[in-house]
Amino acid sequence: MIKLMKGNEALAEAAIRVGADAYFGYPITPQSEVLEYLAREAEQKTGMVVLQAESEVAAINMVYGAAGTGKKVWTSSSSPGVSLMQEGISYIASAELPCLIVNVQRGGPGLGTIQPAQSDYFQSVKGGGHGDYRMIVLAPATVQEMSDFVKLSFELAFKYRNPVMMLTDGALGQMMEKVEFFEQQERETLDLDWTTVGKPPTRSHNFITSLHIKPDKMEEVNIHLQKKYKLIEENEIRYEEIMCEDADYIITAFGLVARICTKAAELAREKGIKVGVFRPISLFPFPYEQIKSHTGKIKGILDVEMNAGQMIEDVKLSVEGKVPVEFHGRMGGIVPTPDEILEALEKYIAGGKL
């Protein structure tokens, strides 16, 4: 089924179709359509629990409780709301609960703006809450991916017993595009041995906790988590390369910005500058090696983001100083244009920086 839909609505529809059991959320622009769409559609279609919580703090803790029963549970918010969820996310990561958290980013810091931004990269990828934990972070670039990644996120969340964050932005959330949905899936009760669903006589009681008072036990838990993250790094790297084969320059960008950069690369090629685009899709795990593999063939990288330069740190780590990496960013909710990206690239080239 192909539909013309806003990114936020595609998210909600995909969650209904994937057979999600519960959504807990609190309104915030630019993603309130998610809760609105679910409130209209979800209960009649699949019986998904849809609850408007009193805050994002309550919402993420409802997710914690419900996810502990092995159900498919999710929430969505935008930057300030996701900041409020950080303690809960840390608990969820430590207790190894599968769930999906969507951040439809807006500009910050503070109350900021309701316009789109990508300034929560650090928070999402490096761990905005306390402790050594990681979320799997996926960055969609199309409304189609907003839908597809809901399904993928739940698969990964349950495969690794880990929270998955979909890191998107207000532009993609509000943008209308064609989207082809996957078939409606049944809601299902998975047979899992760790859930808190009521203790049958055949097992001792389960408990979900992140408390390990004894240092050696706490370290053991950490070592286990780090092993899992390593496994995720080995198996779940996702990225897209556009016109990179013969490129002299590569633009790195994630999310919707990567599409704008593709347009900029096309404009550059019309002028005879061979530009490609490398789009990390999984931000954790990050495609370090895949970016590095280009360093022998290119003269430099321009990293473009809607922030002051966050992913660029990982791009620099990837290339290990072998090629120069420059930056073009817009902040405060301003979306860069293909022309200004090309202009920035040409300036760096002319100035001998790239």
């Binding site: 519960a22 609850l51 309550a58 203790k199 001792s204 009681h205």
Partner: protein, 258 residues
């Protein structure tokens, strides 16, 4: 069964409830938490609902409730136990879900979650242990600390002018249409223990009716935090805490016998 007849027929001397795990508790000797745990375990056994009960432990002295009460348990972030209970109950509406929370947890950092859980009338049981202090962190002032009562952060006694008044959150939630049964009990004397047990039993049983939140405050002691012997602390509780937090039912279901 009336409370009076219950008081008479209870002749059992001692037996560990199956649901109370046979292990050493970390509570200070004389602390009310252990008694409250035991009552919950007894009720779960007697109602035969071990397989259908999920508990939520708070952050506070009772953080390890899951090591003592042998039902499936979720350990919540500080103050969020009722939100966690909401999450569980919403996806498992046929199960019995209870949270067990201290006064700092429920009436300070978690006030919002407490009020809204009760206001939505979530069909869960909230058991609220009010010992007027932050036991776990070493005796700091709680929202429930009495006027002039000393704590490590009110060393000269709680001055209501600058530190506010003890919060009677139980009376507050009783005002909300979402609550079904609200009562205040204690576990410092045998008679009170029996009454508290009866209240806990009702709190579980009412969940089947789907009529709203059951809220049971248990006024308790914290002999360590109060810097008293267990006996002194119970005496002090009787004289001071119960004067401010009078025992008894605050909201009774009108369609069931009390």
């Amino acid at each position: 069964m009336s409370v009076e007849s219950l008081e008479k027929i209870d002749t059992k001397v001692f037996e560990r409830p199956t649901t109370l795990i046979d292990t050493e508790m970390h509570y200070c000797p004389g602390c009310g938490h252990g008694v409250a745990h035991r009552l919950i375990a007894e009720v779960i056994d007697e109602l035969g609902i071990v397989e259908d009960t999920i508990g939520v432990a708070p952050v506070g002295c009772s953080v390890f409730a899951y090591n003592y009460i042998g039902v499936d348990f979720s350990q919540a972030a500080h103050g969020r136990a009722s939100a966690v209970a909401t999450g569980i109950k919403r996806v498992l509406p046929e199960k019995y879900v209870f949270s067990y929370q201290g006064d700092g947890d429920l009436a300070a950092i978690g006030t919002g979650e407490t009020i809204h859980t009760c206001n939505r009338g979530e069909n869960v049981l909230i058991i609220f242990i009010n010992n007027g202090i932050y036991g776990m962190t070493g005796g700091q002032m709680a929202p429930t600390t009495l006027p002039s009562m000393k704590s490590t952060t009110s060393p000269f006694g709680r001055d209501t002018k600058s530190m506010g008044f003890p919060l009677k959150i139980t009376e507050l939630v009783a005002q909300l249409p979402g609550t079904y049964y609200v009562t205040r009990q204690s576990v410092h004397k045998p008679l009170n223990v029996r009454r508290a047990k009866k209240a806990i039993q009702k709190g579980f049983e009412y969940q089947k009716l789907n009529k709203g939140t059951c809220f049971i405050e248990i006024v308790s002691n914290c002999n360590s935090g109060w810097k008293m012997s267990p006996v002194e602390s119970n005496k002090w509780m009787d004289e001071h805490m119960l004067a401010y937090y009078p025992l008894g039912d605050i909201k009774l279901p009108n369609d069931t016998e009390a």
